[in-house]
């Protein structure tokens, strides 16, 4: 056994390195958010939210005349919101219902298979779901579309909604369900009017988290929604998204100065959703 002094020294050294290295881990977050803020806030103005993206020629003219680049990311904002909305409309009912099923039939073999596949689906790379939406929607409809993008996002959202619904439902006391059934209410109304409202906090948090997970996705949308320069309300036509616009700006030397403002907007959107979801989770804990 080594001397007490040496052991205490080793102990101190470990605590110190744990603290220092942990603190260092927070640095990238500060650096990334700092970079995006510093470079992005200047271009954010009213036009940024109401105008569509400028053509590369307009941007070039503006740069040559030393003016700010005209236009904004309205087409991206509309596209993102539309696709997230449709994806939610697909994923929330299926996800919540499956979550209820898994919680109501906990021990069956079928449930454990579904549970396991849901976990695997959660780990499936988003680009794969892009390919799938391309094969399932783009090819049959013969066009890139907002709908295809929504399908990819919906499959991404599903696992999180299923598991958060299931986990929250599992936390509910059995007496709640028994009381409902003892009053003679049918099973469906016990689930829909007693259990689901009691679990609302957890379910809603899961939905918010799943939205924040997909709202910044780029890769699957590249293969499905493709992008558009104008605001597109038709779901069967190619649509833009904020993340897709960032990718376009990144690839177009004339539009580079818009990269950071679009990123700032996307980052704020995702992080505030994320934080909101976690605050609600804390508040509504069962």
């Amino acid at each position: 056994m080594s001397s007490l002094k040496y052991r205490l020294f080793k102990n101190k050294l470990l605590s110190l390195s744990v603290i220092v290295l942990s603190a260092l881990t927070a640095v990238p977050l500060v650096l990334i958010i700092g970079k995006v803020f510093l470079q992005g806030w200047r271009q954010i103005n009213w036009d940024f939210f109401t105008e569509t993206t400028p053509s590369t020629l307009d941007a070039l003219l503006a740069i040559n005349n030393n003016q700010p680049i005209p236009g904004g990311i309205a087409n991206g904002i509309v596209g993102t919101l539309m696709m997230v909305l449709i994806a939610s409309a697909i994923a929330i009912p299926i996800g919540v219902m499956s979550g209820i099923y898994l919680s109501e039939n906990r021990k069956t073999r079928f449930s454990s298979v579904v549970r396991f596949l849901t976990d695997l689906l959660q780990g499936t790379p988003s680009i794969i779901l892009g390919i799938i939406a391309y094969l399932w929607v783009v090819i049959p409809l013969k066009s890139y579309s907002a709908l295809a993008g929504s399908v990819a996002l919906a499959i991404m959202m599903l696992p999180l909604i299923v598991r958060s619904t299931e986990e929250t439902m599992n936390l509910l006391p059995v007496s709640l369900k028994e009381a409902g059934l003892a009053l003679g209410s049918p099973y469906s109304s016990v689930v829909l009017k007693v259990l689901l409202p009691s679990a609302f906090g957890g379910v809603f948090t899961g939905i918010l988290l799943s939205i924040s997970r997909v709202i910044g996705e780029t890769a699957p949308l590249m293969l499905t929604a493709l992008g558009a320069t104008a605001i597109q309300w038709d779901v069967s036509k190619p649509a833009s998204a904020v993340s897709l616009l960032i990718w376009e700006f990144y690839n177009d030397p004339n539009l580079q100065s818009m990269i950071w403002s679009a990123s700032l907007f996307l980052l704020l959107l995702v992080l505030s959703l994320n934080i909101l979801a976690k605050q609600l989770a804390k508040k509504w804990r069962i």
Partner: protein
Amino acid sequence: MSDKIFKSFLLVSALMLLLIFAGIFFSLSKGAIPAFREFGFFGFIFSGEWNSRTGAEEYGALAFISGTLLTSVLALVFCLPFSLPVSFFVGEYYRGKKIAAVLGGIVDLLAGIPSIVYGLWGFYALRPLIQSLGLSEQGFGMLTSSLVLAIMIIPYASSLSAEFIRMVPQELKEGAYSLGATRAEVIRNIILPGSFSGIFSAYILALGRAIGETMAVTMLIGNTNRIPHGLMDTGNTMASIIANQFGEADGLKLSSLIAIGLLLFLITAIVNFLGRLMIKRYSI
């Protein structure tokens, strides 16, 4: 609503999940058939060629499989010295304290940053740094992508590990303390052995994340279609080649990209399967 209908609704929803998973596998396999038929299943996997010139078309996945393995394993190595301290900070040293919740929250936010923003940051902030250090001329490559990947997977690795560290029974730790052990010795002899398989599975799941990451890698890896020969070499991962070339692909090339997608799907499924299996074993 009759209960029977309601119950079958629930069942159908659960069935949908099963169908989606099976459908993904089926559609990818179907799309990959032309490529496998042309080059053979193993021929495709073990060929490092990627040539899309008409007439001399030849496609293989080896360059991208090796790119994927290299970047994701490197990312795991780079993230370890930071994510492990974080999980001990949150799960042991400051367990239940406010500061632990703050650090945990900050690290979790890393998981919320969109992949494309990581890519931009890597391109405009990290790449110049690598250039100025003289590590590589263009700043693209395996090292740059792995560094960004490492930051991206820290939250996945650390938060799950912290949970397993927290689960080590208090009585065991107190027993060791009562024998005069220091905290470092408790960690070394009680906590680490007790939570090892849990921590290990957390890192396997984090590896699965790194394998599938697309945008950030696409922007940083340099996009060359050959087997990488070193840390500074450029290359492509399975995800990045799909992101790069899917839009303009058709025929055999499209099928080859789908085949790479199938392989990627299988690899991540196996990695996640192993990770989840270990967690299940561990928690019972």
